[in-house]
Amino acid sequence: MERSARTPVEIEEQVDGDLGSKRMIVNFGPQHPATHGTLRSIIQLEGETVKSMDLEIGYLHTGFEKLGEFRSWNQGVTISDRMNYLSPLCNNIGLSVACEGLMGIEITPRCAAIRVILYELARLADHIIMVGLQAMDLGAFSVMLWAFIEREKMYDVFEAVTGARLTTSYTRVGGLFRDVPHDFEEQVRKLMGECLRTIQEMEGMLNENRIFRDRTIGVNTISKADAISFGLTGPLLRACGVPYDIRKSQPYCGYEQYDFEIAVEQEGDVWARYRIRVKEMYESLKIIDQALKNLPDGPINVDAPEVIIPKKDSHNHPTGGMEGLIYHFKNYMHGHGVQPPVGEYYRGTESPNGELGFYLVSDGTMRPWRWRVRPPSLYTFQAFPTMCAGQTISDVVSGLSSLNIIAGELDR
């Protein structure tokens, strides 16, 4: 594939200079029904074949990393919600796992199990909507409506547990905001039953569908070497035959106790990614089932008063309520609060997109010195022109919908 030109103006000059050429420039985005978010591609076409592609991002750049330096360690979780807005709980849990790693805190077993259940529910929500949107882009509108019904049921569960449908801000350093309601297991089991039936219906609609198969098999293929060099992770990497899943290789929140398989395919095309997402949804249901069966009792927050405020009448403090009151004060006063030791830490978690990593640098104060997010979408989108080389313009749409690019995470 030819190297893409520098700017749209330069592309124009390249084309105009060759009078009588059949090249055409198509601007795809940033406001377009088929771009999932504010992404812009400037595609140079010859007939219907893509000759080169120039990408432009930054239409949702908010300054998260700068804002993270002005918020305390616990306030950062509110910013993390807004990054991958299809599965905000995954971002919350990823950030907390990184903060706890930086501070060397071990969370309680109950907290770990609840985090796993919510993480997998968020993964289900993300994958089901991605399959729905992928189907909608290729014409199967009903599949998207079915996906949204299931997502609404998951929103009900999230709302009962965290208080909000989308921007949950549920985790804290060392624990969670609050415990789950008493009918949590009942709600989740009901949801799991209905979700299973819907996923089977969606598969029945799409798996043997001639149109879906023709538009996804062999489309947007990427080789294994390219995928590794581009830093792809998650379903896209597993579609190329690399069986890498952070939940198995560097487990967090007790993932090593659960029995599940990693979905791997070999072709590296859109069809392989779709098969992997469907398989991961089934595996998520398995994990949630195991976690619910073995949900341990006990506290959800770590018993470390510098990090988590103790109850005001806590029995841990022999001097009665006074020490508890002092810890409350110190945790909330400006200049105090959660203060990690000086150092830095990088922790990646297996979000539905890929490896969502947080690189946190602490200088010992209540605010981070550097709050860096490693967004999986950035590296995925960077590989997109390579995947589209020589394909037709309709393959571009099909491929873009399979990448699971979230502009909030891409641009931060």
């Binding site: 940033p30 377009h32 978010g37 239409y59 949702l60 750049h61 700068k66 804002l67 910013i79 949204f148």
Partner: protein
């Protein structure tokens, strides 16, 4: 008495303004300018559970030339503001705008260098919906308020 007694059965008389406004308010064509998290709640509003089609706003059009209600859902950054302005210019009159969510209304939780602190600084907004993100019921309430606004308009409200 009067004109009504001469008309055949089934004919009504009214003012042109009322008929025009009744037609406009019950068939708003929203253009979802979906940008960030609020776009997901807007998609929830448009799908089965919180069906916006019940209120006539079913035919969502992504082309500004064919729509009359722009729903700005999400945080508008420096790069996106010219795009938003261009799309607003391309929409033909009559047009209305809902600013959905805290970020579009006032910058939200992001008081940073990269975000426009409220789209109403640059384009005229009719209804603001608070929330981060607002619940689908709030968005439906906003569309109903737009319908009330449309109902009360004069015929020459959108003539320049």
């Amino acid at each position: 008495m009067g004109l009504e007694s001469w008309l055949p059965e089934g004919a009504l008389t009214t003012r042109v303004e009322e008929v025009v406004n009744w037609g406009r308010k019950n068939s708003l064509y929203p253009m979802p300018f979906g940008v960030a998290c609020c776009a997901i709640e807007m998609m929830s509003t448009l799908t089965s559970r919180y069906d916006l089609a019940r209120f006539g706003a079913e035919a969502i059009r992504f082309s500004p030339r064919q729509s009359d209600l722009m729903i700005v859902s999400g945080r508008i950054s420096l790069k996106m503001m010219p795009v938003l302005a261009k799309i607003w210019e391309q929409m033909p009159e009559p047009k209305w705008c809902i600013s959905m969510g805290a970020c579009a209304s006032c910058g939200g939780i992001f008081d940073t260098y990269a975000l426009v602190q409220g789209v109403d600084r640059f384009i005229p907004v009719d209804v603001y919906v608070p929330g981060c993100p607002p619940r689908p019921e709030s968005l439906i309430d906003a569309v109903l308020k737009i319908q009330e606004l449309v109902e009360k308009e004069k015929l020459d409200a959108h003539v320049r």
